[in-house]
């Protein structure tokens, strides 16, 4: 396979997405936008998970928590906007009204910051110890963050929060359908995530990650700064998950803790890379597209509980039977053909 430059790669990815978008726009199918937004969101989550899980070999069970952190940091900022007049004197309020409401790209950056910082903190506390402690801590973290959000009335508590989504967006005199705007943003995020993963894979950073995955002790002995590399990975991974979550309140319209911390995010962001293949950026992409579209289909036709069961069973089956995922199976087939 010939290597493509990162710029070329990103352009190809954007072009593919734009094609889907044009197609959906042409046929006026809003559902297509809603469905592909979810799949793109899973591409970001799966890629983010894989940066830590696939490249470094550290399992994060708290994807849903990082995702929800991004979503709830957006909710907090939106709610903050509504309280400006009540909280600030007139002068300050006027200044703030110029800044708020924040555009979604800023919310995304903010979500990335919050989730990235939490990822860093979790990593700092647990990554110096045995590998499994990190995994356990992320599992527990999801429960606790949910407890915090449920008890935090400002963002709606257990009742949830309504976020009003504008129908259209004025941009440079052109009216854009809001769901198309969200779709375009998520497409951009997916491209950024994939490009980042791809760059990491080919860089010194990626080789450092691989040494950790293969033999951390040996890497440490050879002078690889393992803790620093692991912290970079957790921070990056957390930040991307936060980014994926930040536009979510606008997409869903009504955000409650149970949906933001939904199990499907935790299980899918592990299952997708595992089923696709964890060693390269292609795996999470393939896994997310396959599992994502299958679930979109199954949720409509069967039921959402059954489709989650299928994902869980597939995850178990793949880790036992095909440890290198679909990509691994294809590679093996190619190798056999050559020899």
């Amino acid at each position: 396979m010939k290597a493509m430059s990162t710029a070329k790669f990103s352009l190809t990815a954007v072009a593919t997405g734009a094609l889907v978008m044009a197609f959906a726009h042409w046929f006026h199918v809003d559902y297509l936008f809603f469905a592909s937004y979810t799949i793109l969101q899973f591409i970001v989550l799966a890629t983010a998970w894989n940066i830590l899980g696939g490249y470094c070999g550290y399992v994060n069970f708290g994807s849903a928590a990082f995702f929800a952190l991004g979503a709830y940091s957006s909710v907090a900022l939106i709610k903050f906007d509504a309280e400006i007049d009540a909280w600030f004197p007139e002068g300050a309020a006027n200044v703030l009204h110029h800044i708020f409401p924040l555009p979604i790209p800023v919310l995304i950056l903010f979500g990335a910051l919050v989730s990235g910082v939490v990822g860093f903190g979790m990593g700092y506390l647990t990554l110096r110890l045995r590998g499994s402690f990190f995994a356990i801590a992320t599992l527990a973290m999801a429960v606790v963050l949910q407890t915090l959000i449920v008890n935090w009335d400002f963002v709606g508590g257990s009742r949830g929060a309504y976020i009003i989504r504008p129908d259209n967006l004025e941009f440079a005199g052109i009216e854009i359908n809001y769901i198309e705007y969200l779709f375009a943003l998520m497409l951009l995020l997916a491209v950024i995530a994939l490009a980042t993963a791809r760059v990491i894979e080919r860089s010194q950073l990626g080789f450092g990650f691989a040494t950790i995955r293969d033999d951390e002790l040996a890497a440490e002995a050879c002078g690889v700064p393992t803790l620093r590399l692991k912290l970079i990975a957790t921070t990056l991974s957390g930040a991307f998950m936060g980014m994926a979550g930040a536009p979510f309140p606008y997409y869903i319209g009504y955000l409650q803790p149970a949906s933001a911390f939904g199990l499907e995010y935790a299980v899918n962001s592990i299952a997708m890379p595992m089923i696709g293949g964890t060693t390269s950026w292609v795996g999470p992409l393939v896994g997310a597209i396959l599992l994502g579209s299958a679930q979109q289909y199954a949720t409509v036709t069967i039921s959402s509980a059954v489709n989650l069961l299928i994902v869980g069973l597939m995850l178990v089956a793949f880790v036992i039977i095909a440890p290198n995922g679909l990509i691994g199976l294809v590679q093996e087939r190619l190798r056999r053909k050559q020899s």
Binding site: L129, S132, A140, V143, L313, V316, V319
Partner: protein, 300 residues
């Protein structure tokens, strides 16, 4: 409230405090039973079985099903279920060993495997029983014993005593029998065990079977204490591992102390700040332990 004399208010809060501590100790005893299995699998065998709470909930539902349909006491059901859960555990270990441990892939894929198991159990229970809370019926659910200012609800006391019994049995088995000592040894030096003509895989299979068997009892006790729905297990993941780490990996006495401690602190939190904050306590314990004393209270 304002008209109440200071002395009376002091008494009430003292009563409250004392009762919260007693309730916490009862709860902690139950936590010890819940954690015993993980203390074996995670602490001694180094198998990060995050699906353990899933098996506990499975135990709860079996106790529920038999209790409602045949009126059998949940604790009796769980004792009958012990061999079946033991076999289930041995089977799961065999799959885990063949697929991951032997290939040296337990860190990433093994964890994903257990996560998948947890998830599949939960979703299957949702599909079969729905998401409604289920509870059992027994003569000791309801009445309380009163000693002066202390209330001892039998609903908590019976599970606590059963849990301590289970815990003592495991501790005796591990310290007094050959197999039990071999379980301790397998975590320290597998080769030495082989030199003694003991198959370490067999020992691990037995140990993991015991670990899952405890889940049958813990599950029955859980559904006596509180109504259960399939996702309750997730709350216990943080608790179980927090207790296990705080107590010191592989140390049964440490586990017991940590369980009682967590029970008391959680009970105090629930009494004075509200029950919705209780799940956060375990996580705080876990993070503080990992940050300041990763070896745990009685760790090696």
């Amino acid at each position: 409230m304002a008209a109440m004399p200071v002395q009376a208010r002091m008494d009430i809060s003292f009563d409250l405090l004392f009762n919260a501590i007693v309730a916490g100790l009862l709860l902690g005893g139950f936590y010890a039973a819940v954690t015993a299995g993980v203390s074996i699998s995670f602490g001694m065998l180094d198998i990060v079985n995050i699906a353990h709470p899933g098996f506990i909930i499975l135990g709860s539902y079996i106790a529920y099903f038999v209790n409602i349909n045949f009126g059998v006491d949940p604790i009796v059901v769980s004792i009958i279920m012990l061999p079946i859960f033991f076999a289930l555990g041995a089977f799961v270990y065999q799959v885990y060993y063949l697929s991951f441990e032997r290939r040296g892939q337990e860190s990433l894929r093994g964890l994903a495997f257990f996560f998948g198991l947890l998830f599949v159990t939960e979703v299957t229970l949702i599909l079969v029983f729905g998401v409604d809370y289920r509870y059992v019926e027994a003569s000791y659910i309801g009445p309380s014993l009163h000693f002066g200012i202390v209330d001892l609800p039998l609903r908590m006391l019976v599970p606590c005593l059963a849990a301590l019994g289970l815990f003592a049995a495991i501790e005796l088995f591990i310290t007094r029998t050959f197999t039990g000592r071999a379980i301790m040894a397998v975590s320290q030096d597998q080769l030495a065990l082989q030199l003694m003509a003991v198959d370490p895989i067999r020992i691990k299979r037995i140990a993991f079977g015991i670990s899952i068997a405890t889940a049958a009892v813990a599950g029955a006790l859980l559904i006596i204490i509180q109504p259960v729905e399939p996702s309750v297990g997730r709350e216990y993941i943080g608790r179980v591992f927090a207790i296990c780490v705080l107590g010191g990996l592989g140390s049964m006495p440490g586990t017991l102390i940590a369980a009682l401690l967590l029970g008391v602190v959680e009970s105090l939190t629930a009494t004075f700040y509200g029950p919705s904050w209780a799940p956060a306590v375990a996580f705080g314990f876990l993070l503080l332990t990992l940050a300041f004393r990763p070896a745990g209270l009685l760790g090696r």
